[in-house]
């Protein structure tokens, strides 16, 4: 009991102390000369395919795949929700696997084939998953929707390929597109409007589990 309290006190003290230290480093010392102009950021050439078209870009190495798509290629269907891998709005397919486009740098993708929501289907020719989302009203504001759809397409493919998940009772068995399986695998894609159960309905229909 006493030890616990001591630990608690010292942990708090440490937090207060480190915050104060952080504040101190933010104070410029008097008489500091202006630092010289910093060098221009490094850029690198990179080539990859997006939706079947090859792009040759010269990018600031800090540019994420997400910003390369949205700001350089102007493919704004892929959304920026959090920019650090916590919401799934930027989900795209890279060589057939889903990733968060915000979590990798564009220059890491040399030679890759990227599929975005724009590459899945068009207004005139919807992908079956896009059509199912419309039918089941699997969205509201629409901002997480491209990421949900890309993720949903990849999830059904993962299940087909037998990629296991936490929701399986028997990890060695072939996974089914059950509701629990879909919900588990889709949990990296947040929808604050709360369309989850409609998204599962759309996925189940595309998977052939329901109409």
């Amino acid at each position: 009991m006493d030890d616990d309290r001591k630990l608690e006190l010292s942990r708090r003290g440490l937090l207060v102390g480190s915050a104060a230290a952080a504040a101190a480093t933010a104070v410029p010392s008097a008489g500091t000369q202006a630092t010289p102009l910093r060098p221009n950021p490094a850029t690198m050439p990179v080539s990859f395919e997006v939706n079947g078209t090859r792009y040759d870009l010269d990018l600031d190495t800090r540019t994420t795949l997400l910003d390369a798509l949205r700001e350089h290629l102007k493919l704004t269907g892929t959304k920026k929700g959090c920019d650090h891998g916590q919401c799934g709005a930027c989900t795209v397919l890279v060589n057939g696997e889903r990733i968060n486009a915000c979590l990798s740098l564009a220059v890491q993708h040399s030679g890759d084939a990227v599929t975005t929501i724009e590459g899945l289907g068009t207004i005139e020719q919807l992908h079956p998953m896009q059509a199912a989302f419309i039918k089941h009203d699997s969205y509201q504001c629409g901002y997480c929707t491209p990421g949900q759809i890309c993720s949903a397409v990849a999830v059904l493919d993962e299940i087909k390929r037998g990629v296991p998940s936490h929701a399986q009772v028997d990890i060695a068995a072939r996974p089914d597109p059950s509701d629990a399986e879909l919900r588990e695998r889709m949990s990296g894609n947040i929808c604050r409007c709360g369309a989850y159960s409609n998204i599962v309905e759309a996925m189940a229909e595309v998977a052939g589990a329901r109409t």
Binding site: H84, I123, Q130, I134, G142, L182, Y196
Partner: protein
């Protein structure tokens, strides 16, 4: 069109389009990524520069010195905008905290600088080179510490002004005499909207005229607030917001993104775009403020409430508004002796503001647990206890009634549908493997405000109908219900209607908020269509009242003319607004519902799983059942978040919300949500508006969290009065494992 008498029969009653399940007309653009949100408008203006916001590292105090020299010299940087060099700007009266601060700091992560650069990466990097020397002073960050000192606010004005408690009868005497009493205190935490699209804007100046592409729920309010902020007339401001990636109240008023983008654009002489980063949304913008609520109920032995008191404490910045957590209690249940009051502490935390059902949601989180606790004391079923205390009139003003009030039917129908009769009266009776299983209920209640709303409708030479209004669609389905309304009124198929929203050059609609959007914006379109129908009839020398619009034709007196023929010589336009007279204030236009929840609590770990949810609602005419249902399940999902996980944790030493991202401020994900069902009762409210419709976006969330909490209690016998009900609050009180 003035609406001041009950709506008789009208063309909407045909319900050939309105009221039918209709896939959203914006579905194809939203599911293909073609719908452009604010930050994505590469197409609208050339030469856009990137702005990155720097927030204050202290919660309260002053900037002694801000050194931007290094940042200014960083590659690609065009300008560092601070309050000192931004040029003239003011704070709109609808913003409590300034949207660009300095030298005084009002809250943590309040914007203190905008870095404008050629690229996003350059702007973000340069932000780290700004050195700020702060003089920090101690702020007030602990709501509970001001429990006994915070002054009374609110009163009959509803919000803001200092006022005494509201009293009906003699609460103290009645409570003292009541044979069965409950006196309990509940707390709700600070919560964050966390819509998926963070606040974002592009701003461009042309001389002294400002255009912004932004993400706002309220286009006309944004124009007004930008006019106040930039000290220019409203005519010189254009706001466009055709697609909004969620709002939940966070985008009712302008935030730092749009002000900084406009200041930045003015400073560099070219368009600037700014998005608030996800972590910044937590402390830079607004949130639902925490409450501490005391509820006292006094009943007779038959379970009739004779005394009811609801006293709420919340905090905000100086000049901010309270959480109106007592508002629902004033109207929901009977009882002759009543007391409601609000106290407001001054806190130096980020600004508290509207979040989905502001006041009502946290108020019902407390009240509806209290009702469950009282039912148990009485030995009554909680559904029956609520039914016994229904009132058909305003309990404070008995001569004011509700236009429609189907609370009892919502409760009864829901109980039957959900299998409520199988609920054990005593808690911790039902086990399913390692899980305790229980059922919970709550009422749902929210008023449906009547608000002026305007629209313009044009019949084009092609026979197509074009609707223009500054209404927004924040996921609520406005595009579709507006198209349905115009199609019904003009007698054309849905695909002959085009809807353009979210442009301040269009007539001003009610906007999206407070469940006033759907009913008022469609009523505005109704009014404009009436004008257009008159114009069509006049052109054909028909009596407008006798003209029937159907199948793309107008028919009267044995004449039948296609709409395309009518407009062949030129488009015809109808423009009008719906406006409300005294009738709308003479009754309560209200919506009611009941939430039922089945929850399982793990007997060993205290983990909670919500297994089934059902909502039954009476909310006027349902314009589009599929999108109305989506609003319901969305709010039920958000209610699960409020019950189980959502809490902004206050650092009471330094004054900020610690968990400022989606990994630490948890919201429900797919795996948290299982079966959800929604039933709408038939209701066409003739007192409400010509659509006979009301709202349900706020109704939908009221009571949900309490129904979850009550189900948890019924499952495992642990009563938790402090939201959220995380497993640590259950674990040491779970039934002993035999």
């Amino acid at each position: 069109m003035k609406f001041d008498a009950p709506s008789g029969p009208n063309p909407i009653d045909r319900m050939k389009v309105v009221g039918r399940t209709t896939s959203r007309i914006d579905g194809p653009v939203k599911t293909t990524g073609a719908a452009p949100y604010a930050y994505e408008r590469h197409d609208v203006v050339a030469n856009q520069a990137y702005g990155y916001m720097l927030g204050s590292a202290i919660a309260k105090g002053r900037i002694k010195r801000i050194d931007t020299a290094d940042a200014e010299r960083a590659p690609g940087v065009l300008k560092i905008v601070t309050a000192a060099n931004a040029g003239p700007f003011a704070t709109s009266r609808h913003n409590t905290a300034r949207l660009l601060a300095g030298p005084e700091i009002q809250h943590y992560d309040q914007a203190i600088a905008l870095i404008v650069a050629e690229t996003f990466e350059q702007a973000r990097a340069a932000a780290t080179l700004i050195r700020v020397d702060y003089a920090r002073v101690q702020g007030r960050y602990d709501l509970a510490a001001q429990k006994d000192t915070a002054p009374l606010v609110g009163g009959s004005s509803g919000e803001g002004s200092a006022a005494a408690a509201l009293r009906t009868g003699d609460f103290e005497a009645a409570f003292a005499a009541a044979p069965v009493k409950l006196d309990a205190t509940y707390s709700t935490p600070d919560q964050s909207h966390q819509m998926m699209e963070p606040h974002a804007s592009i701003a461009a100046w042309s001389g002294d005229e400002l255009t912004v592409w932004t993400s706002t729920q309220m286009v006309a309010w944004a124009v007004q607030d930008l006019s106040h902020t930039f000290l220019i007339p409203q005519e010189k401001i254009r706001v466009l917001s055709p697609y909004v990636g969620g709002g939940f109240g966070a985008k009712l008023r302008i935030r730092a993104d749009v002000v900084l983008a406009a200041l930045g654009a003015r400073a560099v002489g070219r368009p600037v775009k700014v998005a608030i980063t996800r972590p910044q949304t937590m402390n830079n913008t607004v949130h639902r403020a925490a409450t501490i609520q005391r509820i006292r109920l006094g009943c007779d032995r038959e379970g009739r409430i004779g005394a009811i008191a609801h006293e709420s404490l919340s905090g905000n910045l100086e000049g901010g508004r309270p959480v109106t957590a007592t508002a629902q209690t004033r109207l929901l249940y009977a009882g002759l002796n009543r007391l409601t009051s609000m106290r407001q502490a001054v806190l130096d935390l980020p600004e508290g503001n509207s979040m989905r059902a502001p006041g009502a949601a946290p108020g019902m989180m407390a009240l509806e647990i209290a009702m469950d606790e009282m039912a148990e004391k009485l030995g009554l079923d909680p559904v029956e206890f609520r039914i016994r205390n229904d009132t058909q009139v305003d309990p404070e003003k008995p001569d004011k009634r509700f236009s429609e009030r189907q609370l009892v039917r919502c409760l009864r129908d829901g109980a039957a549908k959900f299998g409520w009769s199988r609920r054990p009266m005593r808690p911790a009776q039902r086990r399913d493997g390692s899980w305790w299983v229980g059922l919970g209920v709550s009422s749902a209640f929210h008023n449906s405000p009547a608000m002026k709303s305007a629209a313009r409708v044009r019949l084009e030479p092609s026979g197509r109908i074009l609707v223009e209004t500054d209404m927004t669609d924040i996921g609520t389905g406005s595009y579709t219900i507006i198209a349905q309304t115009a199609a019904e009124m003009m007698g054309v198929p849905l695909d002959m209607v085009e809807v353009r929203l979210g442009d301040s050059h269009f007539p001003a609609a009610a906007g999206s908020g407070g469940q006033f959007g759907a009913s008022n914006s469609t009523s505005g379109v109704y009014a404009a269509c009436v004008k257009l129908r008159e114009a069509v009839a006049r052109q054909l020398n028909m009596e407008p009242d006798r003209a029937v619009f159907e199948s793309g034709h107008v028919v009267a007196d044995r004449r039948r003319v296609s709409l395309a023929d009518v407009a062949r010589g030129g488009a015809l336009t109808g423009e009008d607004a719906i406006e409300y007279g005294d009738m709308s204030r003479s009754v309560h236009l209200s919506t009611f519902g009941a939430h039922f929840v089945e929850a399982a609590v793990h007997a060993y770990t205290g983990e909670v799983r919500v297994r089934r949810m059902l909502a039954v609602c009476a909310a006027g005419r349902i314009l589009n059942p599929i999108s109305a249902r989506s609003q319901m399940i969305g709010a039920m999902t958000m209610g699960v978040g409020a019950a189980l996980m959502e809490e902004m944790v206050v650092d009471k030493r330094f004054g900020f919300f610690v968990n400022h991202d989606l990994a630490s401020y948890e919201v429900p994900v797919h795996a948290d949500i299982q079966e959800q069902e929604v039933l709408f009762l038939d209701e066409a409210d003739e007192m409400a508006n010509p659509m006979k419709a009301k709202g349900l976006g706020e109704l939908a969330i009221t009571g949900v969290a309490a129904a979850v909490a009550n189900a948890i209690y019924n499952a495992c016998g642990v009563r938790v009065r402090d939201y959220p009900l995380t497993l640590d609050k259950l674990l040491d009180r779970l039934p002993r494992i035999a």
